[in-house]
Symmetry: C2
Subunit: 526 residues, 2 copies
């Protein structure tokens, strides 16, 4: 088994030399590299070794409480004590006050090392952001210090039985009680809905204050402990048995008159939730990148060591010498590099704060493309390893299983594709993306022209269309053409410029064919 190695050089390359993090006022490239290096060492030495045992052992529900796999509690304490949990929390609330680009670096590395644990801890930065954007000062002061220190973890409680992608069907009710609210209802698919890592848990719950569809939804803070110190009325009724992410407890939660506080305005639940969800979506894009990179690393290492067949001179050669294996490895590498560039582009734009319309489009595109990239790379990685890829021993089968959820959660990819076509493209986000692509076009001009034609074509139709899927793929491919231009121009600043050029040349050439294909599929679905 290939031990986890953080792809630090690749990460810093796209962040600094492709996505332009240097333009951000608070960004410090040296500091980022230094902190990223520290986190990489911690992830390689401490976090990654628990990935396999966590997958094997999974979580257990005992006496109504979730027990994480052995060692996860100790690991989380070390992680929190070193300040990683409060990385982006303001210093005034006990955090490190660092910016979200650094979080993009550590999140990706964390997922590559141990996706399950990253899931359980990874909603905290979004919860902090939600508190900062929508909470009162009292709410911030009550919760952010605990979230930053690791004394409290957070969950995001949206989904209910019968209300997955369709939030208008949410039935969990909030009723006024004293100076606060009481929540009653059931939530499902709650990652980290309970665990034995942190003393407390803060549930961010979307609940209904009136029957007025999505306008009847508000967001609530529901800590596991009541103000009087007793346990709140939130209980775990089951944990799901899943294909992967066995060490991430996916809980069904029952709220039984649980004490809660409104955060943000009544009836503005979706707005408040989207702050958290937008952060979570960028994070999921990075999870996809992490799986693509991890799969590539495992497969490249295996293909370099494993002798298979003979070369033209009859001498035994490594697996990597075979044309089809090289094709798969380069494709995997391109998926990781390109996906990361796209995710970093979205994160930097989000932090710049001056391109909200563009960010609205880039975030779901990155979410969809990067998660599919992770799944495709994991699939290719299994294939490179052959029979060994199917065995638990080489760990790539875990990547294959763990990666699969990313195309489903934080908005199933098909929902994002539909929203791109029906909501974003006809509006300012579509225009912003078009301006961005026109400015970037360069050698990718043909792809941009095809994209603009497809956009026009779709705008002329009404309602959801089966073309949404291919339009989403087309959009991502056109963005990737632009990003590969940036990467190729900057290749000398990567420690291995030859690799960037080789993988990039192939990604650009094959990407052109994918653009033609998806553009044709969009036309077909008319």
């Amino acid at each position: 088994m290939k031990p986890f190695q953080a792809p630090l050089e690749d990460i810093l390359f796209t962040l600094n030399d492709v996505a332009g993090a240097g333009e951000l006022p608070d960004y410090d490239a040296d500091l980022t590299a230094e902190i990223a290096g520290h986190f990489a060492s911690f992830a390689e030495a401490e976090i990654a070794p628990l990935d396999e045992p966590g997958d094997r052992k999974g979580c257990r529900l005992e006496g109504g409480r979730v027990l994480m796999p052995d060692g996860f509690d100790k690991l989380f304490r070390a992680f929190a004590e070193q300040g990683w949990q409060g990385l982006t929390a303001p210093e005034a609330y006990g955090g490190q006050g660092l910016d979200a680009t650094l979080l993009a670096v550590t999140s990706e590395i964390f997922t590559g090392a141990n996706h399950a644990l990253q899931m359980v801890t990874g909603l905290v930065p979004g919860a902090i952001r939600t508190l900062l954007a929508h909470g009162t000062e009292a709410q911030r002061a009550a919760h952010i210090p605990r979230l930053a220190s690791g004394g409290m973890l957070a969950t995001m409680c949206l989904t209910e039985p019968g209300a997955g992608s369709d939030l208008s069907r949410i039935r969990c009710r909030a009723e006024p009680a004293g100076d606060g609210w009481q929540l009653t209802g059931e939530k499902i698919f709650i990652s980290g809905g309970d665990q034995n890592l942190s003393e407390r848990i803060l549930h961010l719950v979307l609940a209904r204050t009136s029957d007025d569809g999505i306008r009847g939804l508000s967001l609530f803070l529901c800590p596991c402990t009541r103000r009087d110190g007793r346990r709140n009325g939130v209980s775990v009724t089951r944990i799901e048995e899943k294909m992967g992410l066995h060490a991430s407890p996916t809980c069904q939660l029952a709220f039984d008159g649980a004490e809660a506080e409104l955060i943000g305005d009544e009836g503005q639940g979706l707005r408040a939730m989207f702050t958290m969800m937008n952060h979570a979506r960028a994070d999921v894009a990075l999870q996809g990148v992490a799986h693509a990179a991890r799969a590539t690393d495992i497969a490249r290492h295996y293909a370099a060591e494993r002798v298979q067949g003979r070369g033209p001179d009859g001498a035994p050669v490594a697996l990597e010498a075979h044309a089809d294996v090289r094709r798969m490895l380069d494709r995997m590498d391109a998926l990781a590099l390109g996906g990361r560039a796209l995710a970093h582009l979205a994160v930097v734009a989000m932090e710049r704060g001056d391109a909200e319309d563009l960010v609205e489009a880039l975030t779901p595109i990155a979410k969809v493309h990067c998660t599919e990239a992770g799944i495709e790379a994991a699939n290719l990685g299994v294939q490179v390893l052959g029979g060994y890829g199917y065995l638990a021993e080489y760990r790539i089968e875990q990547t294959y299983r763990d990666a699969r959820i990313t195309a489903i959660y934080e908005g199933a990819n098909g929902i994002h594709a539909r929203a791109l076509v029906t909501r974003l493209m006809p509006g300012r986000s579509g225009d912003a993306l078009e301006r961005f692509l026109e400015a970037e076009a360069g050698e990718a001009v043909e792809g941009v022209t095809a994209w603009k034609a497809a956009r026009r074509d779709l705008l002329g139709r009404s309602g959801p269309t089966p073309a949404a899927h291919d339009f989403m793929a087309l959009t991502a491919e056109v963005l990737l053409q632009c990003l590969w231009q940036r990467m190729l121009s900057a290749s000398e600043r990567h420690p291995d410029p030859e690799r960037i050029r080789r993988v990039g040349a192939s990604a650009v050439a094959t990407g052109r064919e994918r653009i033609l294909f998806h553009a044709a599929m969009v036309r077909l679905a008319a």
Copy 2:
């Protein structure tokens, strides 16, 4: 969870009305339908219910012997007693004497119901065929009756540590001993290498009688019991922990001077083995089809029942009403229908016995296309179910895991693609395939022209090429265009002609785009 339902109508449609089984001298459509119906009932009532518990519990190695999950032994006895195990064995040896088209029907249904158990029992028909083609009368008489009755199961022992796709590296040695041979060495990835279903096991072992590369390889019959009645020198040294197929024991076997008989001529091991492998490859193609069909059935059922979102009139609608879900369901259906037509075409051609060159090409193309179809359909099926697709409860995640091995075993798909380009296309198989496509072309003439150009292009190059993958995909897509023409022409003979026409129209139109894409990728990889 959707109980397994055998896709009987679809199966009989492609067999009778598309692949032309009726042209076979011994084929009886009514008898096939009747026997297929009996098997479908048995599979639905008896075989399928053990699929989930088998996956959960897996096999165990205890005291050097493999224990199958509870109930598998009883199920296998019922299966054998009803005569299914001896379906294609000649009546003279106690079998039913039925033809291989019927086996294609029962194999697919068996896999859809329980891939793991199908694996353990499914090598017997190939072993019988090998004995009939290469064995002496004494060998046939000694083994076929036991294989046909279920008293003996068979294994295929090729792979060794360090010798997967590259058989020239096989080190297992055979040495003359008395009037027979002794085998010494190690084999890995042996499906059903041990089990507690049958009293006996017949290992078909590829071993080395000289150091002369693949010309030093011979095939041996190595029963688990010696002629003197004692246990033979074959032991299970471990069983693998795998992503899926948990109820199929994948064994590492040690041969320690095991008593064995040569089958076929010394040094002709590969030739004898290929009889078994060709059968196994067609069987694996059907496994891919089975997974595609099972995934489609689960997803279609879920999408029809699950309410999600609202229609144009604001009323709640089923998931299947959404454009992107319909796109996924139709694609899955097309993968199952098209893959099955291709597999049936190969099986019927194999049985006809007058088109060996064509069969040489069709078999690996069906293997590669159908296994990738199964994996793609399972992936789409998981997506249709969303979060529920990731849960063990709905069983499609098992399809996703079980299907994945099919692209790897019986020759990794990349190896078949390479062989197609380097060995088959320059020779008579390439010519036979070209003649077949020209005769079929009809409306698919553009695709056939693109394929011929790609073939010419590849013939001008030497050695393996990264284009092999796309040439394989291109070839399958062109064949599918021809098969969809046949299906569309015959649609009125299907119980649901409208479905065949809808899915077919979309498969043809999107297939044309895939042809253009793969043809362009072949040119690029030049």
